[in-house]
Symmetry: C2
């Protein structure tokens, strides 16, 4: 009974999680947060992004539970919520290197 309905829903959520990872800027953010929490302004400086753009990307990561925000004074510090995210990140990076090595031409577009 839990079957089709909630199964599809779970794939949907899983896809949303992947979607949150599917942007170069958000991958950069995650990579930056590996070394520890960062405030928004630190990230702005280190990544060289517009504040509003960064904030929107952080919002997406937050909405999917990938990062956690903690307010400290006027700064908001973000950290990774779950180490498994970076594990998955690294696995996919390995896959990517392997695919590139095999000389398969990846479509950069689409």
């Amino acid at each position: 009974m839990s079957s089709q309905q909630s199964k599809d829903e779970f794939y949907q959520l899983h896809a949303h999680l992947c979607k949150a990872l599917a942007h170069p800027t958000r991958l950069l953010i995650i990579d930056e947060l590996r070394d520890g929490p960062r405030s928004v302004s630190e990230l702005v400086e280190q990544l060289g992004l517009r504040q509003s753009n960064l904030s929107q990307h952080l919002g997406i990561l937050r909405a999917q539970g990938l990062v956690v925000a903690r307010r400290d004074g006027q700064a908001v510090y973000y950290r990774l919520r779950d180490a498994r995210v970076t594990q998955a990140f690294d696995l996919l990076r390995q896959v990517l290197r392997s695919v590139l090595k095999d000389g398969e031409r990846l479509a950069v577009a689409y």
Copy 2:
């Protein structure tokens, strides 16, 4: 010199890889292929999709090197290319369960 240019490019490729995973149907396909290679028509039947739609999704997975196609007679069999993809898949699934358990309300939209 290799630095910024190719570094950004790599994040771009990584994002493309994630994007290929960021759709419920494609996650379903990957999950189905865990149990071994499947022909397109088998997948059509098992997943209940339009043939053209499935073929498009398979094309995206193929373009990113996530699956490999092998022709056998008139059928084309697809298989997963790298076990690490399913490892990453499973890690993210664990993260998702953990996030859900923590009662954070995930935005289904966006």
